[in-house]
Subunit: 288 residues, 4 copies
């Protein structure tokens, strides 16, 4: 097994243009949490623009929070009206700005523990029996993660509308159907159940069709978080991280915390320049 | 695949002696439903004795109900006191008394439909994706049932105390642990999910150790209900059917319907005479 | 509490005209089980017509099975083509033809036990704690069933599309949303958990809007099965029973057993003549 | 509603002595993660001692990790043998050492979002319907949290052995039984489902009988995290925080990450000096 990336495989040289436009019909004063901004770990970000308007004016309040790993959350309070959120940015990967955002050794050790734990949609504690019987639990994790990725590709059908927001990795395993979120959840659950830390990443995905937000999973392997996408719907090396978490519960692009706001419009854009790379399945990819 | 039984493989010539003694501490007037009597389909029954006592006297009421296939249910009402239920019988298989109890063609057709449906502990509708991907769903069902039986033997550990009365076949599949009831539920769920009618049988099992009530499953194959026991804990040909149903919900040996009654003592006996047969795994066995 | 029906409340004098037209696109030889014919218990049935055609000709095979309580199942095998199923009937209630179809005393006793058991979508064993704390478990069951019916009306929203075919009564209780099937499942589960036998009835429902198949539940009370409809969408006294069972697993109007058949058209008709009655919520209604 | 604590209600002046002794039989080289050390937020800690030994000598490795809020995790690698972990400390609350450990405003805002999210054992997204119908979802959260706490006290029975490590808040709600962990999970799930951030705290609990580790929940109210214990088994003001998290998945006192280690001995000590306070249910308590 020689699936290590060639030097620079981490999307060096690529530029991605990403954008998101959302509109909500707010009918009662509302608090909405939005996570759409590219992670600072994704590369050098140029020309970034994030704008929130209620009926064309400033919303009641807008708070921007940043996490220690460079991810951004916006907490918006809005009175009734048409609430629009508009974001776009250009990300250059070459400079490897991501290196500055890496957690230190202690942070990595804590992350390993956190991402071994079962979570809302990845109840890994409950399927250890199945996972270990199917994939083993030995110390060499690379082949195991690859086997899990392959199993999901072979066994789970990508069927839009086949799952609900309440479904867990167990539902996906049993029904054999789901969408990107479900594929990621199952990968995470099977990894954790066999002793491999794994986490969820919400991303912009150049090449995805139809274009939308996308979800993949990362497994801890040889000291790094390597990205896997069992849907195979977009090349991993041009993905742009938005937010990282235990599962989809941590990474909603928009969550209505209180009040009433209906999403009426969503448009996602993700373009790789100058050209969309191809994904070499046997290659390990690290996401910035 | 030539796994049909030799002529007379249906436990001809064997005699089984079965018994069950239960005692409840009734602290409030109670209704208890008991299913411990051997099915009339099991063979010619001699020396059968069934006795219920409350503090050594007659209980408030005792009703015996028989189903159209020769199974028996006792509905006992008892005032507070020590309620004892005692049953024993000798069953000779040779005479094939079971033949009289077979449902007619229409009954068989109805049974096939009923036992394809998902049930409380066998939610086969939810795991079709997994089951079909793992075992297929073609018209030749014999090899498929054998593969399911084998898979459960290989993948599920028999671990007393590892499951609860609320667990379903999905829990068993995912945790990889259970007891006889769970093994049967998983076999049933996987069969139904791949288009094979399957049902649950509560049985006396000569050779089981430690002795207790036992549970197996039957799958509809070549026009007959063939019995499978993925636990492999007792030879199939000397099993004595008590009650048949969709799953364990239909076949509790004792269920407290109202009031308060605590089971304080349970002793099960099951002996094959003159000798315990061996189980030939490749042989199809039909349970009387 | 005086919620017994007035003499003749059992839809005497009413006539119902019911019909169902279905069309499937069969792309591989298929077996479909259809349950759309009015139960013989529903009344005197005139002018009944049931027709199955594949591309206008006879299907490969058509088997009609009747249960001991007068319910009908059709097992259809069809080659590829357009498979149509057409049924219509006129049912007069006055003659109380239903009386002949009642099970005998022993059958009633068995039914009481069967319909106390947990089932696929009504896992009553698991929510006993909640049910007994909320509704009690004493011997007077009428007020308890009424309280359960009322609670569902108050607490569960009728939201088309809010549930899936895999959802159980527990999902309905927790999410507070569902459709007629879910309302019935929750009623059944709460009744059984508090010691009241309860069952599912698929029915034609004059007055339902938009017209479709409908589902209600029946609880065993004062020696009879009384019908409840927490959706309140159609008067109970003009419902026409199709099939009775433990839950929706027993009563699908069409189930594809093997092959591939896609339902392309479904039209349900149910009319009460001469006039749609009103439902008096406090009145107990017994369904024929 | 005037349930604010009197000045100094935060266990000022109290001293707690806590200890934990564990022994594992390690039969294969193992990695165990231990969380038993009192949080630095709990007060001024004197005489703290934490010792790990394998067969009386140093384990293969011992790493201590601290979180940004002053909580401690030990990652132990041990060869086969008897692995013992021994901890004891004396915590004085008076000095309010806890103040230094409070997250800043941005950290509080992030925490509020994190602890609104559904988690492994608190799937709050799935029971919003029930929770909002039962408890409301208005802006005044204090009375709502109190109502949730009271509801759990009234409706859930404390029954050791009634739940498993896989059970979630939904199981607890439905079965009406559980232990401290389940009570906390249900409180958290109901709070989050009605819009109140809530989190899990593993604690030492002076006064608990039989003595063991304990679990409570904290809800965000009036700008602070207030502690609730629907089990009522120990006075809140003398609890000593060990670790805070989304649910029990974050706070295991010992988790075997790899290898085989069986817990053979566990002894927990927690004493309040000079005297155990009484818990005033109507008083809001903030845990250091």
């Amino acid at each position: 097994m020689s699936n290590f990336e060639a030097p620079g495989a981490t999307n060096s040289g690529a530029t991605r243009v990403v954008a998101c436009d959302m509109a909500f019909r707010v009918s009662e004063p509302t608090e909405v949490v939005v996570q759409v901004v590219a992670s600072k770990s994704a590369g050098d970000i140029d020309d970034s623009r994030f704008e929130v308007l209620t009926d064309g004016g400033a919303p009641s309040s807008l708070v921007e929070l940043s996490t220690s790993v460079g991810e951004t959350m916006h907490i918006i309070r809005s009175d009734p009206g048409r609430l629009t959120v508009s974001y776009r940015a250009r990300i250059r990967s070459g400079a490897r700005g991501s290196q500055d955002r890496q957690p230190d050794e202690s942070g990595v050790a804590l992350d390993r523990q956190v991402y071994l734990r079962p979570s809302r949609y990845c109840p890994s504690d409950h399927l250890i029996g199945f996972a270990v019987a199917e994939f083993g639990a030995g110390p060499e994790v690379g082949p195991r993660i690859a086997a899990i990725d392959e199993w999901i590709q072979q066994r789970v059908g990508y069927v839009p509308g086949s799952s609900t927001v309440h479904d867990s990795a167990e539902d996906t395993l049993l029904t054999g159907m789901g969408t990107c979120r479900d594929f990621a959840h199952l990968g995470i659950a099977l990894c954790r159940a066999t002793g491999v830390p794994a986490r969820f990443a919400a991303v912009y995905a150049p090449g995805l069709s139809p274009m939308d937000f996308h979800a993949v999973f990362e497994a801890f392997q040889d000291g790094r978080w390597c990205v896997y996408d069992p849907t195979g719907l977009a090349p991993r090396s041009s993905l742009v991280r938005i937010v990282t978490g235990r599962d989809a519960a941590d990474s909603a692009f928009a969550a209505v915390i209180s009040g009433i706001a209906d999403l009426e419009h969503l448009e996602v854009t993700a373009i790789a320049e100058p050209v969309l790379p191809t994904d070499e399945p046997s290659q390990t990819v690290v996401l910035g």
